[in-house]
């Protein structure tokens, strides 16, 4: 009957999903922690030379690209997330304040979500083209000389700026969507009460909207941080597998790229373990940030 446990039946229903998850999610998870302790693992022959505690981690850290990857990733995370969250917040508040054409604007703002990161990355690369790009044309109207954003030999700063613009553009759709649905669920009576008290607009925003939206903001910030730490397809879209402007390859390398770089050379000894070490470092950093944010938000989020 109803409250009876249906153990056998339940596991039967779960089995297709669980078998796939066991093979492609849980086993790989544990295996990553195994691979990382193998010394000089030869993937092709499946041989290794004993175990090492930190050897593979130190390989990753000593990798000439590691420092660059850390710098780039942190730059992307700490610039693109706050900027795009702020923009998304303002846009969704503005969007929520109108009635006419709201659906129309919402649809347009959602477009970046459904597009292909590689294809649009290519478009952005061309927007930042030195001679035929839109950005330099625009700057030309203000008598700014053409800047080499992403072309051959472009500087780190210029390339990073272009990448950030693309990253922020790409991340807005999802955030606006979530904020807007959050705003629409806020009870109108708070705003009516504020109007009765003739509260100025800015105070309404900071004292009512933001606090009531804070669970959504927290959710967005956490997911965006995790997402930004995993930046990769955007870089490939804009700069190709060279991960940087021509003449300056790997200058836009990210943490995730370290993992895939190692996987590209599975033939070389230790590469797999190095990839595992890089992925564990990535995981640890995202986990740490998530925990910190949860901890901070406990005091700041109003439910």
């Amino acid at each position: 009957m109803l409250e009876e446990k249906n153990n056998l039946k339940a596991w039967l229903y779960l089995s297709p999903a669980l078998v796939l998850l066991a093979v492609f999610t849980f086993y790989p998870l544990f295996n990553a922690f195994y691979l990382v302790f193998l010394k000089d693992f030869n993937y092709l022959l499946r041989e290794f030379d004993g175990y090492t505690l930190l050897g593979n981690f130190s390989y990753v850290v000593r990798n000439p690209n590691f420092k660059q990857a850390m710098i780039n990733t942190f730059f992307i995370v700490f610039v693109s997330v706050p900027v795009s969250v702020m923009i998304a917040l303002f846009v969704s508040v503005a969007l929520n304040s109108i009635k006419k054409l709201q659906g129309f604007f919402q649809t347009i703002y959602f477009l970046p979500y459904v597009t292909n990161a590689i294809a649009v990355g290519m478009a952005f690369a061309f927007i930042f083209h030195q001679d035929y790009g839109l950005i330099n044309t625009f700057l030309g109207w203000f008598n700014v000389n053409p800047i080499n954003w992403v072309g051959t030999g472009a500087s780190w700063g210029n390339a990073m700026f272009s990448l950030l613009v693309y990253t922020i553009w790409g991340g807005l759709a999802f955030k606006i969507m979530i904020f807007l649905s959050g705003l629409q669920s806020i009870d109108k009576q708070y705003y009516d009460a504020a109007r009765v008290d003739s509260t100025p607009r800015r105070r309404v925003f900071t004292k009512i909207t933001v606090p009531l939206l804070s669970p959504m903001i927290l959710y967005i910030v956490i997911t965006s941080f995790i997402g930004a730490f995993k930046a990769y397809a955007t870089v490939v879209g804009m700069f190709g597998v060279g991960l940087g402007p021509a003449g300056n390859p790997k200058s836009m390398i990210t943490m995730v790229a370290l993992v895939y770089d190692a996987l590209e050379h599975t033939g070389s000894i230790g590469a797999i373990s190095e990839a595992a070490a890089a992925s564990i470092i990535l995981f640890s950093i995202t986990l740490l940030f998530t925990i910190i944010q949860m901890w901070v938000s406990k005091k700041r989020v109003h439910y």
Binding site: Y43, S97, L101, F110, N116, I118, F126, L282
Partner: protein, 299 residues
């Protein structure tokens, strides 16, 4: 009295100014969002002559639009084959995902079994782990299964399809998402069905699945879109150009680091890849936007 009318007039004028400002801001923002698409389309129809002009032409009269860039893009790489591959892989992984998800979500929402909550918590917390940790071992797994080909045997099409779709035939997130929908179905419906002698299996397919149809459609669309946009995994497990999916096919077709990049052809190719996605979006806008806003899915 006089005064209050005056204040009223002033405040109404301020309101109108504010409204105008808001709409101006929203239009400006819409333009910013649309620029990359516009630039992609504009570039893809420019002839070489129109392309290599400084400053670039921002508005191209229709009579100067060239469609031959699309022809040369299709000649440069087999996009139709990429699309066929993508459609097949989407279909396989979506069918797999739907079945595994429906069954698992049913077990989690409707059946009582030992360890249900513990198992669910384990699944939920594993959603936090970055996929990069799985990719390494999954790569080894599909290679051990012989699906990547070996030194003397090259990868077959069937192997490639398996390697591309099998790891994506289930998703913890979709299980969670569908379970939420299933749980909103009142228990009484289940009791009523039980009193009438309906089996669990029949109840699932005749009652729960039809009621959860909008969510299931959302899952189907998002999953298919995910395949269309997949880059990393297809790039790892396919070598043969004919086995590629659209996204990695596009990237490998235009991967020159330097030298002469043919931008108009490249943008035509990018448009070929982007357009089907946009068409699907406009046709099924309702399901996609509602699904995303309700669940906060990052595709």
């Amino acid at each position: 009295m006089e005064n209050s009318i005056k204040i009223d007039k002033v405040s109404r004028r301020n309101k109108i100014i504010a409204k105008v400002f808001v709409y101006f801001f929203l239009v400006l923002f819409a333009v910013i969002i649309l620029i990359p698409f516009y630039w992609m389309v504009l570039t893809s129809v420019k002839s070489m002559q129109d392309l290599t002009v400084t400053p670039p032409i921002l508005f191209l009269p229709f009579d100067r639009w060239r469609l031959d860039n699309f022809q040369s893009a299709l000649n440069a790489a087999p996009y139709l084959i990429f699309m066929r591959n993508t459609v097949i892989v989407s279909f396989l992984s979506t069918v797999g995902t739907i079945f595994t998800t429906i069954f698992a979500a049913f077990a989690f929402s409707r059946l009582n079994f030992k360890g249900r909550d513990t198992l669910f918590m384990i699944l939920l917390s594993s959603m936090m782990i970055p996929g990069e940790m799985f990719v390494i071992t999954n790569f080894i797994t599909v290679s051990d299964l012989g699906w990547l080909g070996s030194n003397n045997v090259s990868q077959t099409y069937g192997d490639a399809l398996k390697a591309l779709s099998l790891p994506f035939m289930t998703s913890i997130f979709y299980i969670f998402f569908l379970r939420q929908t299933f749980r909103q179905i009142p228990n009484e419906l289940y009791y009523a069905a039980k009193v009438d002698g309906t089996s669990d299996f029949k109840y699932l397919w005749r009652i729960m699945v039809p009621i959860a149809k909008p969510t299931i459609i959302t899952i189907i669309i998002l999953n298919a879109m995910g395949t269309w946009n997949a880059y990393i995994w297809p790039n790892l497990v396919t070598d043969n150009v004919n086995f590629r999916l659209v996204t990695n096919g596009l990237r490998t077709a235009y991967n020159q680091l330097s030298g002469q990049v043919i931008y108009n052809e490249q943008m035509a190719a990018a448009l070929i890849v982007t357009l089907p996605l946009l068409i699907v979006f406009f046709l099924l806008k309702k399901y996609i936007m509602r699904g995303v806003s309700r669940s906060g899915i990052k595709g």
